[in-house]
Amino acid sequence: MLVGGILVITRKNPVHSALALIVTLLAQASIYLMLYAPFVAGVQIILYAGGIMVLFLFVIMLVSIDRSVRERQFNSQWVVGVIAATALGGLFMIVFTKGKNIFPEHALPMVENDNTQKIATMLYGQYMFAFEIASLLLLVAIIGAVVMAKKRI
């Protein structure tokens, strides 16, 4: 999974990056299965590796990549960027080592045979308002994407 992530940010050709990202997403879906989240794993495969990556590949084909492959791939502030990211990583490590004791050693047992049903009940019951807002957000995103990509409005 990490190898896939590294390949995403280092490949020259965006198509190779997209394929590496698909590998990363599929590996993450398997990790969701390890975490007793089969529904999220299915959504990850169908929506991410299926839908969003097809969208990415379409756009990569749409914009011509010949010129961008020949250009310099990293911008001039890459040293500062890597230093900032390393500092952020150090911060994460400090937080994790300081707060290690609050995590329980053994995770609670979880049943997964009615996982999807429980998620659906929560989605349409407790989180109904958020669900409606998400649908509104998707509508706005669809309209926005169409308006942006249109030649003349």
Binding site: Y32, I52, E71, Q77, Y127, G144
Partner: protein, 105 residues
Amino acid sequence: MDSMLHITTLHYLVLGAALFLLGVIGVLTRRNVVIVLMSIELILNAVNLNLVAFSRMWGGLHGQVFAIFVITDAAAEAAVGLGILIAFFRNKETVNIDEVNLLKW
């Protein structure tokens, strides 16, 4: 020694942090807009991994429901971002993010 044998929440958190950092490095250093958007997807996936790991830790399903909402947001963000990219490519004939400097002083 028992804690070395099975995977705890902390392992998932470290993996999520590493993925997040890869995404941050990608966003900060790449010049191709498509790859910057892909790095944002990496960041969102790291957040999702943390959410599901915490959901496993507490034995509830709230984290998984929230992860689904984050996936929805990622889909919306990808659609709008790629729409902007297409409009930008039509104007400037490039996908280099350093050319997006109209607001630069």
